[in-house]
């Protein structure tokens, strides 16, 4: 389904603008899509568990600031340090979700607000310029001269998560948790650990997306990634991962992220002002959720 939508979009855009299918614009699409792919793929695990992470964009924004601040001091170590920090933020949210028994929606909504404020404070409410970007510049290289390195890395991240799910019992545990948490618990599944793990991966993904953003913009900013939240959630649901949990995959989120990016790039091509972009995300999310919702699990809509 998401693949068909993806193909249809490419064809439609190629018809609307014959110049679209050139190497230059495809490269641009791939580059734009990279951080979104990483964000969406990592957060997919939480959705598969039956939750949602609304804090990914805020974590990513904060991470861009941290990276910009740490690069002069830590040099090459700044990148892993930022990913570690973002993963820890995810872990804290996951533990809060599990131990305090608060819905993930609320934990990450609160987290989003708190982290945005921290990013503002730490950055002094302004853009932090990166003077020496030598340690993150490699993401701006092109593999074979055409394929952006950041896009390749995004695919690597998706493949790593997918492999981890495919080769280990994690896939069973996550699905069982998402489809029916009580059944999973009564089968002795480590439900709590699985959920915290999903939050850690989601946080780490946000940190990695931040590194891609910094490498592109030569700076970190307290709101730099904030406009990626809606596209990321849209990417997950457009991919066909059910918001009710259980059903879905990270590959679907990859396809979803490409669809969302193409829509975004395509709007100006067909003559729609980019101010309408948010309307598009809203509509896309509602339609996609309607199509993928597991109605058997939802008897009362809140």
């Amino acid at each position: 389904m998401p693949l068909i939508a993806l193909l249809a979009l490419v064809v439609a855009l190629a018809i609307a603008d014959p110049g679209f299918l050139t190497q230059r614009s495809l490269t641009a699409v791939a580059r734009t899509a990279a951080p979104l792919i990483v964000l969406a793929a990592a957060a997919t695990l939480i959705v598969l568990c039956g939750g949602i992470d609304l804090s990914i964009a805020a974590v990513a924004s904060l991470s861009t600031v941290l990276l910009a601040l740490w690069l002069p001091h830590l040099g090459g170590l700044a990148t892993p340090a930022v990913i570690l920090a973002a993963a820890s933020i995810g872990a804290v949210q996951g533990v809060a979700h599990v131990l305090l028994r608060i819905p993930s929606f609320i934990v990450t909504l609160g987290g989003m607000s708190i982290l945005s404020a921290i990013a503002l404070v730490v950055s002094g409410a302004g853009t932090v310029r990166v003077v020496d970007d030598s340690t993150v510049k490699w993401l701006e290289l092109y593999v074979g001269g055409y394929v952006p390195m950041s896009f390749v890395m995004a695919l690597v991240v998706v493949a790593l998560i997918a492999l981890m799910l495919k080769l280990t019992p994690l896939r069973s545990w996550i699905s069982a948790t998402g489809y029916s948490e009580s059944a999973a618990r009564l089968a002795g599944t480590p439900v709590d650990l699985v959920k915290i793990g999903a939050f850690v991966v989601s946080g780490a993904g946000a940190g990695f997306a931040a590194i891609m953003l910094v490498s592109r913009q030569f700076s970190g900013g307290p709101t730099m990634a904030d406009n990626l939240l809606l596209p990321a959630v849209a990417a997950i649901v457009v991919g066909g991962t059910a918001i009710t949990g259980g059903h879905g995959s990270v590959w679907r989120s990859l396809a979803g992220a490409l669809v969302v990016t193409l829509l975004r790039v395509g709007l100006p091509i067909v003559g729609v002002p980019s101010a309408y972009e948010q309307i598009l995300y809203g509509v896309v999310i509602v339609i996609a959720v309607t199509l993928t919702l597991d109605w058997s699990k939802v008897s009362i809509i809140k």
Partner: protein, 509 residues
């Protein structure tokens, strides 16, 4: 339009309802006369609940017809049923606890009780009082529902149901589903007085597991078995044993429970020893189960036996007590710890708690014991195939394949997969079976019983919460009776020396 007195208030003809893998109703006939209290009895899984749901429009039957006062009707919702004068007092009370009795009684039909969107309390009180007067109850309509006793809340429910009189211009048909299961004996007397009063202006369908009560309060009793009507008796002069034989039928005879395969229980150190276990709904429970022994815990709804069972699996908080396995004290702080200790649990709610419907047979079977299909940290597809296929074969699970989603299997085969989940690890020492045969047909039940016998013979200790007293007596080597959170007695139950159900019932209530 007047209806002749001889026309039945409610008539059911050839009602059929299929669920995947189960024929819940298989051509049920039922007649409820005007101003009559009709008892409806049957074992669990006989089709009572489905029939009741069909009567109040919660289930749409596949075939057959329902006639109200001689007129065929299609009931598609509770409102539909109410329009035809059929109402039900649900087993799980359906009142909103933080509203007053008056608000609950009039909920959704306040009429003059609300003007311009605001409660008129004097009108509310008057309207609610009218309903309560019908059953002669002296409950204050303005008291909050959660301040009322369980029995009073039931009166409120009945008063609420009686509102359907206003919707249809005929005497209503009131369905009472297990109304006595949590009542004290004095409260039961009050309820029975109400039922006799109801008969003056309504027809009543009374469902209960307690056969003596059914015979006491009803005029006639209809018996269901395996989704079919197997007969009816006039209550006057009938005895519980007679009803009971009709409920069980011929299948209860011979060796339905495979008694000749019962394991030889060795004395000595018990496999499971529970000392002074207390939780929110049970106190000071002591329990010993030997290897190879099947111990059934019986008790009415609210006896706390389900919670004890869950507590032994770490799924219910425990405030005091000790659990020993094979002479070693174990700490069961959660379900993982219990699994690691070699304890397995088959939940009563198979569809929501036992299995993960959309996941495959293989994944469901290996969910608890991942090591059975893994090599190191990785899933080994070859190993998984071998292990899962072996158990599919050994338990004769009928499935198109190991990768088929478990929800496509019949109930009995689903349950076998859930049971196999605890066997694939090869380390099972204690099985906790919470209504393992609920909703299964006779054939599937028999297979589950045989499997239980085989496991016991291989040395697995079993705690069984049976679906019916007969099942408990048939399967168990020993029976513990729980009442109000405590173990009140212990009855030996060896093959050839089984206690009678009535003896147990005496201890249960």
């Amino acid at each position: 339009m007047s209806v002749p007195a001889s026309t039945p208030a409610l008539e059911v003809r050839g009602l059929v309802k299929h669920y995947p893998g189960v024929k819940a109703l298989d051509g049920v006939d039922l007649v409820v006369r005007q101003h009559e209290v009709l008892g409806l009895v049957g074992e669990n899984g006989a089709g009572k609940s489905t029939l009741l749901k069909a009567l109040v429009g919660l289930v749409v039957p596949d075939a057959g017809e329902i006639r109200v006062r001689g007129e065929a009707v299609k009931l598609r919702s509770v409102v539909d049923a109410a329009d035809h004068g059929i109402g039900m007092v649900f087993q799980e009370q359906s009142l909103v606890p933080n509203l007053t009795a008056a608000e609950n009684i009039l909920l959704g039909g306040e009429g003059p009780g609300v003007r311009r969107g605001v409660y008129r309390w004097d009108a509310m009180r008057r309207l609610a009082q009218e309903q309560l007067d019908k059953i002669g109850s002296n409950i204050d309509p303005l008291v909050r529902t959660d301040a009322l006793s369980f029995a009073d809340r039931q009166m409120v429910e009945i008063a609420k149901v009686l509102r359907i009189e206003q919707r249809s211009q005929h005497p209503p048909v009131i369905v009472l589903d297990e109304p006595t299961s949590v009542l004290e004996s004095k409260e039961i007397e009050t309820l029975f007085a109400q039922i006799r009063r109801l008969r003056e202006f309504a027809s009543v369908v009374f469902v209960s597991h307690r056969l003596d009560e059914v015979l006491e309060v009803c005029d006639r009793v209809a018996v269901l078995r395996n989704g079919q009507s197997v007969g009816e008796v006039a209550a006057a002069g009938a005895v519980p044993r007679e009803l009971h034989r009709m409920m069980i039928g011929s299948t209860g005879s011979d060796d339905h429970y495979h008694e000749n395969a019962a394991a030889v229980v060795e004395s000595g150190q018990p496999r499971l020893a529970v000392r002074g276990l207390s939780g929110t709904s049970f106190q000071d429970v002591n329990l010993d189960v030997a290897a190879g022994e099947i111990v059934a815990i019986v008790g009415v709804h609210g006896s706390g036996r389900e919670d004890v069972c869950r507590a032994l699996f770490g799924a219910e908080p425990v405030t005091a007590g000790e659990i020993w396995m094979d002479g070693k004290k174990i700490d069961i702080s959660g379900t993982r710890a219990a699994c690691a200790a070699g304890i397995g649990y088959v939940p009563a709610e198979r569809k929501t708690e036992g299995m993960v419907g959309p996941m495959s047979v293989a994944e469901n079977m290996t969910l608890a014991k991942q090591r059975a299909r893994c090599a190191g940290p990785f899933v080994a597809p070859g190993k998984q195939a071998t292990v899962v296929d072996r158990w599919i074969d050994r338990l004769s699970i009928r499935t198109p394949g190991r990768d088929t989603p478990i929800q496509r299997l019949s109930g009995g085969n689903q349950q076998k997969v859930v049971l196999a989940r605890w066997l694939v690890g090869g380390d099972i020492r204690l099985l906790l079976l919470d209504h393992p045969t609920r909703g299964l047909d006779i054939g599937a039940r028999s297979e589950v019983y045989r499997l239980m016998r085989e496991l016991a013979a291989s040395g697995v200790a079993t705690v069984l919460l049976a679906d019916s007293l007969e099942e408990a007596i048939g399967m168990a080597d020993r029976i513990l009776v729980m009442n109000d959170g405590r173990v009140v007695s212990e009855v030996g139950c060896p093959a050839g020396g089984k206690p009678s159900p009535l003896d147990l019932v005496k201890e249960m209530v």
